[in-house]
Amino acid sequence: MSFISVFDVLGPNMIGPSSSHTAGAVNVARLARQMLEPPLARVEFTLYGSFAETYHGHGTDRALLGGIMGFATDDVRIRDSFAIADAAGLKYSFIPNFTETDVHPNTVDIAMTNAAGKTLIVRGESIGGGAVRMVRMNGVKIEFTGEYCSLIVVQRDIPGMVAYITEAVSRRSVNIAFMHLFRDGKGGTAYTIVETDEQLPPDIIQELRAHHGVDDAIIVQA
């Protein structure tokens, strides 16, 4: 957050009851949905810590489901998100996990399957006041917040990939604010996350995907 705005004090405008358990849950799911090609067919939410203990009373379940359908934190449809998901044919389930306790108190794993049968599991944390961070992708530790335009490249862990990605970004005159590289193991699957000051044009996705070492490339923003 660059500065504390008057609208950080008088805001967010949100569906209650809790900025961390409701608005933050919406925001985690909104980021998650952008990480897998639509349309989404099935989603399973695993809730940890305080999320697991209080999700019903905080409407965390409705908030997550609303967020996965793209609703914003102030969208009054969140209260009815079960019925809306049912009508849209989206399958969903919620599993409280009380055994894993070594996690941030407001953590959720979101396992998504799209209509093409592709799957993705991401983990997000609601860290207060509606702010969130995504911390895992298919079990690999990653980190981004959605505060910046975020390019996520899923790639093979082979030489030259970072240069290839940054060259594509720089050719579009977009400034890189932060860049992080994560991998599940040497020579395995790697995740490059590039957070940029300006919006990245969507055509970069096609270019990056054309490379034989790239499995997927997506742009995510809060």
């Binding site: 004090v9 967010p12 405008n13 949100m14 569906i15 305080s50 203990e53």
Partner: protein, 284 residues
């Protein structure tokens, strides 16, 4: 135009002969790079949401998600209508609106966090009540919100507004400080009087713990929002009467923050102590 302390805020008000609300407006435009009209429009939207939430449960009370609250605002309204209220015109209205906002929040309705969801009733409660009694215009209410925003910003900048960090004093306490300061400006007080009122509130709510039953933003949160407007009103009255405080707002924020961090974890939103530990209540 920017400030990071109440002292700097008062200096800016003095130098430019501006109320707190206008300094906060200019700060927002300068730092966000936003047009004044856009900032005003966004605050107008916040006011509209606040007004809707402060009124909606008076006609249509809703049971909360956790089932602990619902219908309290309507009861207060009915008591005032019967002529039996012992709180007077402003306070009885302010409590009604504050509790109404918390009912909306707890039933997954639309609110404005001010500064948090758990304290969202205080600022709209007091400002809307004052508007009803003193016929303030929406323009004046927007001034009040920018003034309140300045006080809340100082708390976020230099202390905390998170119950998990500082207890309820950091949530409802700060919200009441914001409301008190705004009320003073609306009623013609000086910037120094506004911040004296804010300081008084934090002093009087010092140490208030965050102990939500079942971990839910319902009970005692809703009651405390009503208590918050009462504290704000008392503090504003004192400041407008010319009563000065020995502890400046900057110091009072530091004191509140220190006290908050000394609270045991059981009393900071973990639902393991205080009212939350009362046997026989909803354990969710």
């Amino acid at each position: 135009m920017d400030f990071t302390s109440a002292k700097e805020l008062l200096t800016l008000c003095g130098q430019h002969n501006l109320p707190i609300s206008e300094v906060m407006r200019r700060r927002e435009c300068d730092l966000a790079g936003a047009e004044p009209a856009a900032v005003e429009q966004r605050m107008r939207r916040a006011l509209a949401i606040m007004r809707e939430a402060a009124h909606q449960p008076l006609d249509n009370p809703q049971k909360s998600m956790g089932g602990l609250i619902g219908g309290e605002a309507k009861k207060l309204l009915e008591r005032r209508a019967s002529g039996l209220s012992i709180c007077g015109a402003v306070l009885s209205r302010a409590m009604t609106h504050a509790m109404a906002v918390m009912e909306v929040n707890a039933s997954m309705g639309l609110i404005v966090a001010a500064p948090t969801a758990g304290s969202a009733g205080v600022v709209p409660g007091l400002l809307l009540a004052l508007a009803e009694v003193y016929d303030f215009t929406d323009e004046q209410l927007l001034d009040g919100l920018f003034n309140a925003g300045a006080v809340g910003y100082l708390a976020m900048q230099n202390a905390t507004v998170a119950g998990a960090v500082g207890g309820c004093q950091a949530e409802v306490g700060v919200a009441a400080a914001m409301a008190a300061s705004a009320a003073v400006e609306l009623l013609g007080g000086t910037p120094a009087q506004s911040l004296d009122a804010a300081s008084t509130v934090l002093m009087n709510m010092l140490g208030l713990v965050c102990d939500p039953v079942g971990g839910l933003v319902e009970y005692p949160c809703q009651n405390r929002n009503a208590a918050g407007v009462a504290n704000a009103l008392a503090a504003a009255e004192m400041a407008l009467a010319g009563i000065k405080q020995h502890i400046p707002f900057d110091d009072m924020l530091a004191i509140m923050y220190q006290v908050g961090r000394s609270l045991p974890a059981e009393l900071r939103e973990t639902a393991r102590g205080g009212c939350a530990a009362c046997p026989g209540l909803c354990q969710n």
